[in-house]
Amino acid sequence: MDLLVNTVSTISILAIPALILFIVIYGAIKKVKIYESFVEGAKEGFNVGVRIIPYLVAMLVAIGIFRAGGAMELLARIIYPITNLIGMPAEALPMAIIRPLSGSGALGIMSEIIKTHGPDSLIARMVSVMMGSGETTFYVLAIYFGSVNITKTRQAVPAGIIADIVGILMSVWLVNLIFN
């Protein structure tokens, strides 16, 4: 495990400088006017940033309302009897709900659980796996589709949600299987 972590983290550190270096040198060899090309491409950066603003505001405000009003706690209380059956502790449920909605919110819940229950408790391991294997689905949907002005998202949303649910269920099952 440690070997894998070390290898991947070394590659991660080297990746960006190495990639930029390689692309620039390759471009120069292929006689591309690298500086001019770079600037030409980079011009779009501002437009993309501005283009995603309305989509991001719409998505984040809706998620903000849902979180701030206490709806998450209520939802957790309603579906608790079901999740209890599959071996998910009540404290881990808010994590499962928040993971696709808010990255910072999920990180906060994970840190809180690790602090209260200790990092090597079953529930802390479970939320760590949920955190590591999940993604902020709705943020990704908002900016990726927003950047090309797409509002009709077709099968992306249901498939994304199903993948999220599978990820959560797998986390619960695997953690119970390995650590319990």
Partner: protein
């Protein structure tokens, strides 16, 4: 579907807040209007008589609870009235703490008091907390709506610099033919995943780079490369504003998280003193792989359904 989810988040969020507030008001959770008999002892008795609008350090004793005291500042107003700023500490009772949290003052609990006559160094008085109402609806407005609208713009603006960088770098890679070359490496996989994207299209190269950056956990590079790929995919889109099958598949790969090493999670576990911070790695890799595979299969199956098909035509 996004329409329904969006509406549900807003409607459920606000209705739950209204219901919670109504519940708290009807059960008077915060004991609004309750009067507490208290005794105030000034820290410095040489300041008497009290003057309006000055602030006096004092200790508050609650008459009904023996042995409980709180530090506070007394700010007298007209007559025998004034306000009390109580500093919350470890002695503060739970209900008061809740009122403190709900009042949202930075470091004190606000109460109104009136006392009977100026006495030497202690005042016996009646104290009422500033009433607390609509905690959840206030939270929705301030912590939900206003805060998140601001965060959204900050996130988008924060993306501009790194976005410009990668779009610039990608332009060089594109014009030098590198993107097309990268696309060639994984041709068999990519043509299967994205059958309606030509194998030599620049979108393929961008998608490969985005997925690689995601696997390595390079969020700063992955998002700009992903947005670049979306732009390329959109060039193949015959119905602007509607997602193509390729876009949906690409999105699901991104939302199901293909990251190999969750560096943040491991760092937090290590900082919390875990005996083996990386022990979660095995289940993370399995869970994320299974969810990605299921996601891709689902998105492919759903693409065949009439209800999603007809949106394209």
């Amino acid at each position: 579907m996004l329409n329904y989810i969006w509406a549900s988040l807003i409607v459920i969020g606000i209705l739950v807040a209204v219901w919670s507030d109504w519940h708290e008001i009807s059960t008077n959770k915060y004991h609004n209007g309750e009067e507490y008999p208290i005794t105030l002892k000034l820290e410095d008795t040489s300041v008497l008589p009290l003057q309006k609008s000055f602030s006096y350090g004092c200790t508050v004793f609650i008459d009904d609870v023996s042995g409980m005291s709180q530090h506070a500042n007394l700010i007298p107003s007209d007559g025998n009235h004034g306000i009390l700023r109580i500093f919350v500490d470890e002695n503060t009772p739970p209900l008061w703490r809740e009122i403190f949290t709900a009042q949202k003052r930075s470091d004190y609990l606000l109460a109104h008091i009136r006392w009977d006559g100026d006495s030497a160094n202690s005042l016996s008085a009646k104290m009422k907390f500033e009433p607390v109402k609509f905690v959840h609806l206030n939270a929705v407005t301030n912590d939900g709506i206003i805060k998140y609208a601001k965060i959204a713009v900050e996130l988008a603006i924060g993306l501009i610099g790194i976005m410009a960088l990668w779009l610039g770098v990608m332009k060089i890679a594109e014009q030098s033919g590198l993107v097309a070359k990268i696309a060639g490496f994984l041709k068999p996989v990519m043509t299967r995943l994205f059958p309606d994207v030509p194998a030599d299209h620049p979108a393929i190269g961008s998608m490969i780079m985005n997925i690689s950056a995601n696997i390595l956990g390079l969020a700063n590079a992955a998002t700009p490369l992903g947005l670049k790929a979306m732009e390329e995919l959109n060039k193949l889109n015959k119905k602007l504003g509607t997602a193509t099958d390729a876009m949906c598949t690409f999105l699901v790969i991104n939302t199901s998280n293909v990251q190999l090493i969750p560096a943040t999670v491991i760092a937090i576990r290590a900082a919390a003193g875990s005996s083996n911070p990386t022990e979660i790695l095995g289940p993370v890799i399995v869970a994320t792989t299974v969810s990605t595979v299921v996601g891709v299969i689902t998105v492919k199956l759903l693409a065949r359904m009439q209800i999603f098909k007809k949106e394209l035509s």
